[in-house]
Symmetry: C2
Subunit: 134 residues, 2 copies
C-alpha cells in the first residue's frame, strides 16, 4: 500500500542555521524558506535525488512543532511521509487493522496542497507517520 517515501521532516530550532548546514557542510540543494501559516511552520526543502528532507521551524502560536521542540530543544526527526494512491482506502484499511488516525480521521490539506493524514506514533514504534495522497 505505501509507496514512495515522499519526505522526512526534521524539526529545527533555527531554520536559517539548519539550512546553512545542509547547503554548506552537507552540500545539498535547498529551497528558499517558505512560510506556511496554515500549518504553523516555516519550511526549507532539501532536495535529494530520490526524495526530500523538510526542515521545519515553528511559525506562530500553537505550532504543531512547538511541543516537539520543547521536548527536544536541539531538534530531531519529526515524521516520515509515505505516498498512497487513495487516502480514504488507506485510512479504512489502517483503521480496520486497529491503527489510530490523528485528529478525527478526515484527511486535511497538507503542506503540498494534497490530502494528508497522520497516524498515531504509539501504533508505529514511536514514529509519527504522515500519509499523502499523490
Amino acid at each position: 500500500m505505501i509507496g514512495r517515501l515522499n519526505h522526512i521532516a526534521i524539526a529545527v530550532p533555527d531554520l536559517e542555521a539548519a539550512a546553512r548546514r545542509y547547503a554548506g557542510p552537507l552540500g545539498a540543494e535547498i529551497s528558499a524558506p517558505q512560510a506556511l501559516p496554515e500549518h504553523g511552520v516555516t519550511v526549507v526543502f532539501v532536495t535529494l535525488p530520490n526524495t526530500k528532507v523538510e526542515l521545519m521551524q515553528p511559525l506562530g502560536e500553537g505550532s504543531p512543532v512547538s511541543a516537539f521542540l520543547e521536548k527536544n530543544p536541539s531538534g530531531g526527526m519529526h515524521h516520515a511521509c509515505y505516498e498512497v494512491e487513495d487516502i480514504i482506502a488507506a485510512r479504512d484499511r489502517l483503521v480496520a487493522e486497529g491503527a489510530r488516525v490523528l485528529g478525527g480521521g478526515e484527511p486535511k490539506t497538507g503542506a503540498h496542497g494534497k490530502p494528508v493524514l497522520f497516524l498515531h506514533p504509539k501504533d508505529f514504534d514511536g514514529c509519527l507517520i504522515e500519509l499523502e495522497q499523490v
Copy 2:
C-alpha cells in the same frame, strides 16, 4: 555533496511486531529478519520504490540501539543515511566546516558492507546522520 537518501532507520522494541505492522496495515514489502551481530542489531528492511526503511532491534550486549530504546521505550526514528561518492572527501569537508564525526573519524564497514561514518546529532539539529559511500 550528499546524494540519495539511502535509508531511514527506526529503532523498535519488538522487531516481529514492527515488521507485521509494515507488511500488514501499511502493506509494504519487507525482508526476512537479518541478524547483524557485528553491528549489534537485527534488522528488517522495508523496501519502498525510492528508498528503504530499516527496522532495527538490539542484538546482544552493548547494542548501539539499546540506549536509544531506554530513552524511547516505544521506539522512534534513529538516523537518516545519505549516500556520498567519496567518504574521505566528505569527512574532510565536514570536519573543516566544524562538524564532528563520531567514533574517531575513520570510516567503518556498515550494515551493507560499505564504508560509513556517523555525524554528531548536536551538529545537525538533533538528527543522527549516517554517510555511506556507494
